[in-house]
Each structure stands twice: as C-alpha cells, then as structure tokens.
Amino acid sequence: MFDFGIVTNWIDALLNSVMPGWLATCVEGVLVMVALLLLYSVLAMFYIFYERKLCGWIQCRLGPMRVGPWGLIQVFADVFKILIKELIALKNTDKFLFALAPYLVIIASMLVFANLPWGNGLQIIDFNIGVFFMIAASSIGVVGILLAGWSSNNKYALIGAMRSGAQMVSYELSIGISIMTMVLMTGTLSVTGIVEAQADGWLIFRGHLPAVVAFIIYLIAANAETNRGPFDMPEAEHELTAGYHTEYSGIHFGFFYLAEYLNLFIVSGIASLMFLGGWMPLHVPGWEGFNAVMDYIPSVVWFLGKAFFVSFLLIWIRWTYPRVRIDQMLALEWKYLMPFGLVNLVIMALCVTLGFHF
C-alpha cells in the first residue's frame, strides 16, 4: 500500500527548509485546517446529493434533475440559497446558548471526523485511545442539540430536543458495546492499531457470529444515533414541525443539516474502521494474485468506498421502514439491543479467551 506519510513528510521537510520551525508548524496547521474544511463541506454536499438521488430511486422518482446534468449542481444552488437567507432574531430566546448550539454540534462532528483513518498515513488525530476519544467527542453533539431546543423558546423545539437527547444517549450505549466487542478482538484502542490488526482479514470475517451480530447492532444504533431512518422522532414533521431546529433559520439551520449528513458519514466511517478493515484492502488468505491486485487500489478509495457502502445501507433502511413510536424505540434499545449486545460481548470474550477467533 502506498504510504501517504511520504507525501506529508516531504511537505514537512520542504516547509522546514524554507522557513523557521515554528512558522512551518503554523503553515502545516493551516494546511490541515483547509483540508478539513474542504473535505467536510464537499463530503456533506456529496451526501446530500447521494441521499436525495437514492431516495428518489427507491421511490421510483428521478431525484434532482433540473440544475446541471443529473441535478449535480442542485446542492451548490441550495447552499447558496441558504447562505442568502435572513437570520431571524427571535424574542425571548437565550441568545448566548442559541448561538452556541451550532458551534457545539459542528465541533463534535469535526473532532470525530479528524479521527477517521482516511488512508495509509493520512490520519489527522491519532491518539492511543482513539476509539474512546471518538465516542467521547461524538457525545458532545447531544449537548448542542439539547441547548438548541432549550434556548429556542419554542415548545416543539423543546420536546424535539428532549426526544433527541433520550434517543441519542440511549443508543450511544449500544454503539459503545458493539465497538467494545471489536476492541476485544484487536486488544488495542488506537485507530491505527485496529486498522493494522485487520491486515489479513477484516474483523467481521474473523469474529464468527458475534462480529456479525455486533455489526447489525451497530447499524441499528447508528441509524438512531444520527436521528435518521425509522428513528427520526426528534424531527417527526407531522407532530413537531422540525424538532430542535424549528426556530433556526438560514445558515443557522444549515449547520444542523450539515452536521446531520456528516454524522451519517462519520458513523459509516466508524463502521468501516471497526468492522470492515478501515483502509485495508480485501485480502483472502492463499489467493496471492487476488491480494496483489487489491493492493493496487489506493487506501483512500478503500476507506471511502466502504463508508459509502455502509451509508447506502443506512439510507436504504431509512427510506424503507416507517417511523416507530418513541416508546417502541426506547423499548427496542433497553429491552432488546442492549441485553443482546451484552450477551454478545460475553460470547466474544469467551471466543477470545479460548482462542476461537481466526
């Protein structure tokens, strides 16, 4: 696999040769910032287009078609439209919290976003407790959503935020437990370590049945965690208008929309990291020729491809199933997913201790 560390090290050496060390570090920080901003916005736009097209096809429609070929420029037009909308200042809102909420939501997704293994040597944040850090950082988003609902001075927003809070904290447990099941197999919390542990077989193939069960639990919980799919109670439009962002207008609303789609990418990225091998190519033991061909596909393509595939599954689920009630949703998590997850964890622990996994 091509190591992108060669490129970044070359840029590092080049910058250090023409300017003092502290300046080079600053320039590199700015470079990373620009890369993050570009990736973040381009991926969000891509995801909005991806979902609208897929949803159209699932409902036997064409999706956006008018603006540009196959509606490709539609999303850019939407972004521009949302930028020139008025930001409405409301009566009796808690102004500070109202302004703070989008920052928290965006920062939470940006932190996890920077943690994903983009490719060989292309990982921006790489702690030795990376997976733990991701789970911790993603839960900051709940605070942003709760603040948005509380500060809006609107009953719909308040109820939507409370539902969203209850839903996200509940399903976070299932996400944590299914990720823990995979950590059991690799024995490391570092993202690089987990990816490297899957060099000769992705964890979902190596872990027998418990890994597959954990993957399914993760998919269900991820759909709920991103407030999507059959679990979109927080913004059930026929009862709550738009949920926690009812009172946000223009680009203020755009941030929540952006973060929602980025969270879809993030949960798919984490799924591909934990279960489908991160940026590792598909290797079948014994098939030397096949493995060599697979090695030629760049690591970035592998990672993005897996993430897009998992998001395709999530979008498919979203546009297939009707919305569930809030009591059914909480019962699903607390009475089914979590006990199953715990049992699955114990089975996986037994497998690992007895050396059953590959």
Binding site: L90, L111, G187, G250
Partner: protein, 124 residues
C-alpha cells in the same frame, strides 16, 4: 502522543480540529450576515406555534420519563468506561479477567432487571 500527519502531536491536531469547527461556523455566519437581507416585524420574531398566537411560557416542564432514562444511561455509560480497559487487555489476562468482569456484569444486569421490573423502562 503518537505522531500524526506532519509529525505534529495529536493534541495539537485536536486543537486545530476544534478551531476548524469554530472557523466554519463563524465564517459562514459572517457571510450570511453580510449578504443576507434584514427586516424586522414583531410577528416575525414570535416563536412558531402553527401560526397561532403563542400561549404561556415556552420553557415548560417536560416529562420526568426523559430524566429517568438519563439516569439509566449514566449507570450504563460508567459501566462502558469500566469495561473498555478490560476489553483492551482481555486476550492477555484470560480467564481471570473474564471471571471478574462476569461478576461485574451480573451485578449490572441485576440492576437493569430491577429497573425493568419496577417499570422504569416503560414509556407512559
């Protein structure tokens, strides 16, 4: 911490990521403020309630059910924090660790069963 891209430490990169988030929101808001229209009417700044005049306070009391789930979440989230270190070293410490975590999990599941029996998991 381990080196990441450019050999800059992960902690610095974390600060860079946070700054990027702040910059994204701040810049977009600034652009919207500069090019967006501005008008003010008293109706416009009312909270939205299906077009009706709003009734009473909006920051109302909400269901205690949400609170209950938050407490349950706290219990199980702390459990997750305790289980992660064990999960990391499970393959090395073997059956001793499995046994002690088993006892821990049994106590925890007893707690869940108690909450279930008491009806804390029922939404009404």
């Amino acid at each position: 911490m381990e080196s990441a891209v450019f050999g800059i430490s992960s902690t610095t990169m974390m600060v860079v990521a946070i700054l990027t988030g702040v910059l994204l929101v701040f810049a977009a808001l600034l652009i919207a403020k500069l090019i967006g229209p501005r008008s003010f009417t008293s109706m416009k700044s009312d909270p939205y309630e299906c077009g009706m005049p709003t009734r009473g306070e909006s920051m109302i009391q909400f269901k205690a059910g949400y609170y209950l789930f938050a407490i349950l979440f706290l219990m199980f989230d702390v459990e997750t924090v305790f289980l992660f270190p064990w999960a990391t070293v499970c393959s090395k410490i073997g059956s001793t660790g499995l046994l002690s975590v088993g006892v821990f999990l049994v106590i925890l599941v007893l707690g869940l069963a108690y909450a279930w029996r008491k009806g804390a998991l029922k939404w009404e």
